[in-house]
């Protein structure tokens, strides 16, 4: 430094100093000339340029973050949580053989009151958005005719009631036909969107029953609370379900069973897949596995004459070490795989029965695990191993057995989707028979499923978007691509669209856009760039820039401060000198 200041190039400040030198010799406290501002200006301008350059630098090292609509996500999720999605429902009650004193509208109002008493504010329900129409047919003769027809055969009656209901302008409305006729009360829910009640019913009771069928069966799918939580809908984000059927031979040394899956696929599974088409795109695959023992214990029970595994053992039944059921290679990463397993026990644990907690032997001999799948134990007819033959024969499960097995499996599938697996609904006001469809799912059940599906999609969309926004906000230096922003935006738009469509009652469009919203939300959340390594932390940034900025800023700041101090001091001196001059 000294060298530089000695050199002739910097002679200017020296000159300036020599100028101020002569008058200042005489006193330390006064000066005659005005203090120079040259150095102060230099220092301050350097400081200012640094301060001005700082935002520029900040901008240059800024990480690209696409703006995400956090407030819209929050408002959307709170909206979904506070008022669950509800669909408009129209109900229609046809009373035959009743002699109502009240008018139609009063009866309708009574039913409405009952419905709102019974109704839960569930997602996918009707909420408060429903209409009830009542038609009353008077005349005893027709009531008797009706009764006779309805009591004959449920299948025929179902078709007949459908034609009757259509006369009243059925369509998408849910209808209940109540026939007041002497005799035992019998209530049946058909395959379409209607039910009928035949028998001696009082007017009050009739209204109650109608309301209950509307709410508990048609809207909620006859599903008691706590069976399978309706939030879980085993449909993948891409709207696909893979049904993976596995036949497990616990020990092929005892016996080997095979199934004619191709035939079952054609005759039993295809109609179901077609029926469920609006809800999910289902594909089926099968495999036969060997050497797959269960991992829980069973014990011999003399009373039942079989090996018993209890409900307590169920969590350990599925042997994930040796049942390599595998996720499907054919299905994309987003599809939901449901494992449907038929377990054939080995000779030393045959026959194997499931004991229910109440001590009975399970009729289906199977169990489900929500969102995973179901297991059925199938015992061969005779549990005697043919010891003499060294080469076990490949047996095929007979067609009847296979049909029974698949009925159980279909029941399990219904349960996994959140429907009842048996055909009886026991309500407060009586039992109803639910007619089963040969396609596995009746029309009103499919309605319930598609409502639930839309609801589930929107719920999972909100949770995904919510966790995305929380993640993004918690990592302020994470790169967020434009694509993620776009996906979030589109997802929100699709969700809005689904909601608005649902409120009008357009199921199909709503299902499509809800599915879209969910898959877009998941696309955004699982975008590869979120997990990229170029996450550029603040510490890293600090470590790179501090070796330069820390010393430089210190110099510049100190210089400016000193110069400012000196300037103030000198100008005070000058002012003092001036004042002295004036005084003198």
């Amino acid at each position: 430094m000294a060298e530089i200041s000695d050199s002739p190039s910097t002679s200017k400040p020296v000159e300036e100093n020599t100028q101020t030198l002569t008058p200042q010799i005489d006193s330390k406290t006064t000066r005659n000339t005005k203090p120079g501002v040259k150095r102060l200006i230099i220092c301050v301008s350097v400081l200012f340029s640094f301060i001005l350059g700082f935002p520029l630098l900040w901008k240059s090292i800024e990480i690209y973050r696409a703006p995400l609509p956090f407030d819209r996500i929050d408002s959307f999720s709170s909206q979904v949580e506070s008022n669950p999605l509800s669909f408009p429902c129209s109900f229609q009650a046809v009373f035959i053989g009743f002699d109502f004193k009240a008018s139609h509208s009063e009866v309708a109002a009574a039913i409405k009151r009952k419905i709102s008493d019974l109704g839960r504010g569930d997602c996918g329900g009707c909420g408060g958005n429903y209409s009830v129409a009542v038609a009353v047919e008077r005349g005893d003769v027709s009531a008797f005719d009706f009764g006779a027809k309805l009591r004959s055969d449920d299948e025929d009656a179902d078709e007949w009631v459908r034609s009757v209901v259509n006369q009243y302008g059925g369509g998408h409305a849910y209808s209940v036909v109540v026939v007041n006729e002497g005799g035992e009360v019998r209530s049946v829910v058909g395959k379409y969107r209607h039910a009928w009640i035949v028998g001696r019913v009082e007017e009050e009771e009739a209204v109650l029953r109608v309301a209950e069928i509307f709410v508990k069966v048609f809207v909620n799918g006859g599903d008691e609370e706590g069976l399978v939580r309706s939030e879980f809908m085993p449909v993948g984000a891409d709207g696909r379900i893979v049904l993976s059927f596995s036949l497990l031979n616990a020990d092929p040394r005892d016996w080997i069973y095979d199934w004619n899956f191709r035939e079952i696929d054609k005759t039993l599974l295809q109609p179901v897949i077609e029926a469920l088409q609006p809800i999910a795109n289902i594909s089926v695959e099968s495999q036969v596995l060997y050497h797959t023992p269960k991992s829980s214990f069973s014990y011999w029970d003399d009373k039942h004459g079989s090996h018993i595994f209890t409900a307590k053992d169920l969590p350990f039944f599925v042997n994930s070490n040796e049942w390599h059921l595998d996720t499907s290679v054919a299905a994309g990463g987003r599809s939901k795989v449901l494992q449907l397993v038929v377990y054939i026990p080995s000779a030393k644990e045959c026959p194997l029965q499931l004991k229910l907690p109440n001590g009975d032997i399970s009729k289906t001999n199977g169990f489900i695990s929500p969102m995973w799948g179901g297991v059925v134990v199938w015992n061969p007819q005779s549990c005697i191993k043919d010891l003499e033959s060294n080469d076990p024969v490949r047996n095929t499960i007979s067609h009847q057995d296979l049909q029974m097995l698949f009925e159980v499996l279909m029941g399990q599938l219904r349960q996994l989707l959140g429907l009842k697996s048996d055909n009886l609904y026991v309500g407060e006001s009586g039992t109803s028979i639910l007619l089963g469809s040969e396609r596995g799912f009746t029309e009103w059940e499919l309605d319930v499923l598609s409502r639930k599906h839309i609801c589930f999609n929107l719920l999972s969309c909100t949770t995904t978007l919510g966790s995305l926004s929380r993640l993004v906000q918690s990592l302020p230096r994470m790169i967020i691509m434009d694509e993620i922003g776009k996906q979030v935006k589109f997802s929100l738009e699709a969700a809005k669209f689904a909601q608005s469509n649902a409120s009008i009652g357009i199921y199909d469009a709503s299902a499509v856009s809800s599915r879209q919203s969910r898959s877009l939300a998941e696309d955004a959340f699982f975008h590869p760039s979120i997990m990229s390594i170029s996450y550029y932390s603040f510490e890293h940034c600090f470590a790179i820039y501090s070796p330069f900025f820390l010393p430089v800023i210190m110099h510049v700041l100190l210089g400016a401060l000193r110069e400012w101090k000196r300037y103030k001091q000198e100008s005070r001196k000058y002012l003092a000198a001036k004042a002295k001059e004036k005084v003198s």
Partner: protein, 666 residues
């Protein structure tokens, strides 16, 4: 009672015969899913044992419900085939190097199952040419998930290539890639076993004791997928999944304790339980065929026959059944069910043990104990191929592939002396892009004399590498004269530079150049057995299948210049410090008032400087130590005394010692 059947029997036979034939034809066309498990054991000349497990799974292919419902064929593989339209595929995981010199290079096992270290994958796709790359990329990811390996690194276009002549079929739709550094272990074996219907729960695969397999000198686990074609019209009729595990093991010498001089040369005796630590307890019930073979190769059989002749001279041996003609050399603990002999003069022998014939109660434990010391050698490939690096330094080098003739080609020369005999050799060499090969420097030395390359090259296909896009690939079809002793192909290269984040985590280890494939299409590594039993053993038919002799060279390790990976930070710190110094001094210079400071210093000289000097002298006195305290007082008057000559001397002494230390310690 006996009469009427006699009369009707020929008639019914005649009636039934067409029906039988028809049903037979039908059975072959609409074939069943079949699984077979086989194990081939073979003593190797260098006191080791080769164990070769061969599992074959065959499934028919129906147009309508293809790859959906199988009872034996693994679901994941059939879905893979269906999804990616795979025509054929081979995936191998190998640890160790096949020793072509000692273990032979001219038998079907070495040319099929000797694989380069790490992972090798090739696949032929049945898709239009522009979709092949996409299918390959998806396939690598699926396989990587299926086999718990980093096969997904083969996705990048810098790692795979499309050779045309090295493999038999499929122009344009074949992709080939290797990962020489993939570590192979039990996490790859378990998913591979999962594809077998019995896994390792029963059957021959229960022998696969993990510690003894992974202790082996060489193990290669392979999965080969092909489409079987219908004999009638050549259309595809089924998938064949072939899974093999080839292990070379060193048996524990059971006679080690009896340190007899003659027994030192004798081959170690072994049994299944001694090499694997397990016995075969029953077969896999799902397998159609479950057989163990013991193979004695040509050289061994010839030696055994010599031995037999010498012993037969003394004892007039009644020439018993030919099966036992060679059994004088060693003893087998279990009598073979059948013995297959190769056709021809000097033939190898195959002992067959169907596991089905042994009861479940008695465990099958094949043992072999040697009676006499026997020395033999395995048949070699026409040329023994090896590859090495030349040159030093981090700038450039050269790859050399050397071919040395073996006793095989020497035999050829004597046979075909009248006409000029030629030997075809195909070479496939793939190099990564950062090894920049200059193809014009390709040189050929024959019998250590440089020759013009074009005289020997029949065809040549070169696709030069493109930086960070594709590897370089060279395919050569060479014709050599039979009498040639040795040939060396060399090619020079420059080592490229990689971007700092393209280096693998262990960059200082060096970079691998994948094995070159040397094949000899004129030779067929096939054993022709005189098939007595007409048994349809997949392993036997594999051994009899005509396929060109193939050998892989070593993997080369090229050290590349690796940067100091903390360098960016060092650079940042240094430049920042320089900038900071510059800025600081500039600001200071601009701000300083030199004249004023000097004046101030002068003013303060009287009062402050004396005090400062006193403090300094005190400090220096303390530094020098107490005894010198007396000398400090007179020298305190002048500032120059602070740097006394004694101190300088001392500093110099210390520096000299330090330099000497540094110099001698190196």
């Amino acid at each position: 009672m006996a009469l009427p059947p006699k009369a009707t029997f020929p008639l019914s036979l005649f009636l039934l015969l067409p029906l039988l034939l028809l049903s037979l034809v039908l059975a072959t066309t609409t074939q069943q899913e079949e699984f077979s498990e086989e194990l081939l054991l073979k003593p190797l000349p260098d006191r080791k044992i080769l164990a070769h497990f061969h599992f074959q799974n065959e499934a028919p292919l129906d147009a309508d419900s293809f790859a959906r419902h199988h009872h034996l064929f693994p679901k994941s593989i059939s879905q893979l085939v269906q999804k990616f339209h795979i025509k054929s595929m081979e995936l191998s995981f190998t640890q160790g190097r096949w020793n072509y010199e000692r273990w032979g290079g001219f038998d079907p096992i070495s040319s099929h199952n000797a694989k380069p270290p790490g992972v090798e994958l090739w696949a032929v796709f049945d898709v239009p040419p522009h979709q092949v790359d996409a299918s390959w990329k998806n396939l690598t990811h699926s396989l990587s998930g299926l086999f718990c390996a980093s096969i997904n690194f083969l996705e990048s276009s810098t790692t795979y290539s499309a050779p045309e002549w090295a493999f038999q079929s499929a122009l344009g739709s074949l992709r080939y890639g290797t990962l020489p550094r993939e570590a192979v272990c039990t996490e790859n074996l378990t998913p591979w076993l999962k594809l077998l219907p019995c896994r390792d729960k029963a059957g021959l695969s229960s022998l696969m004791d993990r510690p003894s397999i992974y202790r082996s000198f060489y193990h290669s686990q392979r999965l080969h997928l092909t489409m079987s074609s219908a004999p009638s019209d050549g259309s595809r009729s089924g998938i064949i999944l072939e899974q093999t595990l080839t292990v070379v093991l060193q048996p524990n010498d059971q006679n080690a304790d009896t340190n007899h001089v003659s027994k030192a040369k004798i081959q170690p005796s072994w049994s299944l339980s001694s090499i694997f630590g397990r016995k075969i307890s029953g077969r896999c019930v799902l397998a159609k065929l479950s057989t163990v073979y013991l193979h004695a190769d040509k050289g061994l059989v010839a030696q055994l026959e010599n031995l037999h002749k010498t012993t037969a001279q003394f004892a007039d041996n009644d020439t018993g059944p030919e099966d036992y003609r060679v059994n004088s050399g060693f003893k087998l603990s279990v009598t073979p069910k059948r013995v297959h002999t190769e056709l021809g003069k000097d033939s190898s022998i195959l002992y067959e043990y169907p596991i089905k014939d042994y009861k479940d109660t008695e465990q099958f434990d094949l043992g072999l104990s040697w009676e006499h010391p026997i020395v033999w050698s395995s048949p070699h490939a026409p040329f023994y191929a090896s590859r090495f690096l030349m040159g030093s330094g981090n700038e450039r080098g050269a790859i050399a592939i050397s071919l040395k003739s073996t006793e095989m080609t020497q035999g050829l020369v004597t046979n075909n002396i009248e006409e000029r005999c030629k030997l075809q050799v195909n070479v496939l060499q793939v190099v990564p892009w950062y090894v920049k090969v200059y193809y014009h420097t390709l040189q050929l030395l024959i019998d250590e004399r440089p020759r013009v390359l074009t005289d020997f090259v029949e065809r040549m296909r070169v696709s030069p590498s493109e930086d960070k896009v594709s590897p370089g690939m060279m395919e050569l079809v060479l014709q050599f004269p039979c009498e040639m002793k040795s040939a060396v192909l060399s090619i020079e290269f420059d080592k490229g530079f990689l971007h700092i984040d393209e280096y693998p985590p262990d960059a200082n280890q060096g970079f691998d150049i994948p094995s070159a494939i040397i094949s000899f299409p004129d030779f067929n590594a096939a054993l022709q057995f005189y098939d007595k039993s007409q048994s349809k053993s997949p392993l036997l038919s594999k051994l009899q299948e005509k396929s060109p002799v193939l050998s892989y060279t070593e993997v080369l390790l090229v050290p590349l210049t690796t940067p100091d990976f903390s360098m960016p930070y060092n650079v940042i710190t240094i430049t920042c410090t320089v900038f900071a110094l510059y800025f600081g001094s500039l600001v200071n210079v601009l701000r300083r008032r030199v004249g004023e400071e000097e004046r101030l210093l002068k003013n303060k000289d009287a009062s402050k400087a004396v005090f400062l000097r006193r403090v300094l002298t005190k400090l220096s006195a303390k530094l020098r130590g107490r005894p010198l305290e007396s000398t400090t007082s007179p020298s305190s008057s002048s500032s120059s005394s602070f740097v006394s000559p004694k101190l300088i001397l001392r500093v110099l002494l210390v520096a000299g010692i330090a330099i000497a230390w540094q110099y001698y310690s190196q």
